[in-house]
Symmetry: C2
């Protein structure tokens, strides 16, 4: 017997367009689910902000999605997952809403995949410095190496994901891997677009796509909470906090089609303080 | 007889670290001047924001610098120069404070340098779409071509400004130049770091470094308003709106040394509404 909330949408948020790779993975796995995506484009990127700022932004976005009515919340952003999963999960528990980040699912699948116990994580500078992947993987008994690959984001957004430049940039980063890992986590929502190029340079390695891993974890969480819909086909709506036109243009490459419908929302004025939701 | 304000600092602002190339150019040209740099790192980058948002941010930053006391204001950011020079100049006139952007000085020097009347402008997507360079150059009688080179920013921030990858990326962008310009404006504050690589690919072209052009325009404006200091050696202070540590690390490559002293300021709470300053 499905829960009465089961036809509500799933909230998915990121600082910008990167989380669209997570949205796509969810759509592919559970096409009956409706999705409400929020790109906090007025404050993108989160990766260069301080932990306190990222937490404040993420709480603001989560409040907005909760107020609209969602049955689950996916933090489709590595930086926000690092700094805001704990406070958001805390509130989610009180509200009876599962909250997932993108880090734990990738960690779980990487630990399951590795044979030699050596796992590398590729991410932005912020994700690498945040250290969340490293801590979780080490708790799981792995030998961990983390590598920041900042140019991968620009290459993905420029659409230069294959060819000599993408290969040269990837080669220059991946040459720094020292530990001979057999498993590599794509620890940034932009990086799945570069997966074929990375795989060609590391043919023997198992690549973990954290977008797909997150979609699988979400499916399990919804099933466990009896929140899976019975519908065959869900709807998708998009919210952005700035510059709708640019979101549509840049998002198309990530989504395979132009995001539609897209609504502009203003999160600068606090309409529902986070502290109230916690009571 | 110098003006009584002549020993006040010059305010210089950007969304992040890019404007440090302008700061360096000013320091080199007028080392006696004191400088107060503000990097709005809580809201970087401006280039992907809507014009209204950029204007609001720039007004907030300018208010803060005016309240601290500056004798001139340099908008060391192409996006903010595009969308906020007019309103800020308007207030600057009332306050008796010269306000300069980075676009007009580069345009002026490019128009002076070109022999064949064909000028290309390289910038971010936002600068190219903003169209301000194109409009001013065309008013000056030039045949204009604009080319967005988004990866140049990442290359500059990564420190990959020379070598095979920088050359391959620059080549891929510059191959799109169709009009055979004899003058090319580096229309983004990050791009001067790539000047040697770009010049090698375009050996016959005159490169216009808008950071240096802006420093020269500032010198003339200060001289004209009797605001040049008599001091031999000025001081430099830095303000950022988020993440001091990252600003110091990333800024070092742009400045040639680690920025110091750096102070964190909060611009999210309006302390002096822009509208009041206009009265």
């Amino acid at each position: 017997m499905p829960n009465s909330s089961s036809n509500l949408p799933i909230g998915v948020f990121d600082s910008g367009i990167g989380g669209l790779t997570v949205l796509s993975a969810i759509q592919a796995l559970v096409p009956g689910e409706s999705l409400l995506y929020l790109g906090d484009t007025a404050r993108v990127p989160y990766g260069t902000r301080s932990p306190e700022t990222v937490q404040r932004y993420a709480e603001r976005v989560a409040s907005h999605l909760w107020n609209r009515g969602v049955k689950a919340l996916v933090i489709a952003c590595n930086t926000a997952s690092t700094y805001a999963l704990e406070p958001l999960s805390h509130v989610g528990k009180k509200l009876g809403i599962p909250v997932l980040g993108v880090i734990e699912p990738g960690v779980q699948e990487a630990l399951a995949a590795t044979k030699n116990g050596r796992i590398a994580i590729l991410g932005t500078e912020g994700t690498v410095q945040g250290g969340r992947y490293q801590a979780l993987l080490e708790q799981g008994g792995a030998n961990v190496e983390a590598l920041a690959c900042p140019l991968f984001v620009s290459l993905a957004e420029e659409g230069w994901t294959e060819g000599p430049i993408a290969t040269a940039v990837a080669k220059r980063y991946l040459e720094n891997l020292k530990s001979e890992p057999d498993t590599v986590i794509l620890g940034c929502t932009h990086y799945p677009l570069l997966a074929p190029t990375i795989q060609r340079l590391l043919p023997a390695v198992t690549l973990i796509d954290s977008a797909q891993a997150t979609a699988r974890s979400l499916h399990l969480a919804l099933d466990g909470s009896r929140l899976l819909t019975k519908r065959q086909q869900g709807t998708v709506r998009f919210l952005v906090t700035d510059n709708v036109e640019r979101f549509c243009r840049s998002g198309a490459a990530f989504l395979g089609q132009t995001p539609n419908p897209v609504e502009l929302v203003d999160l600068t004025e606090p309409s529902a303080p986070f502290s109230e939701l916690q009571q």
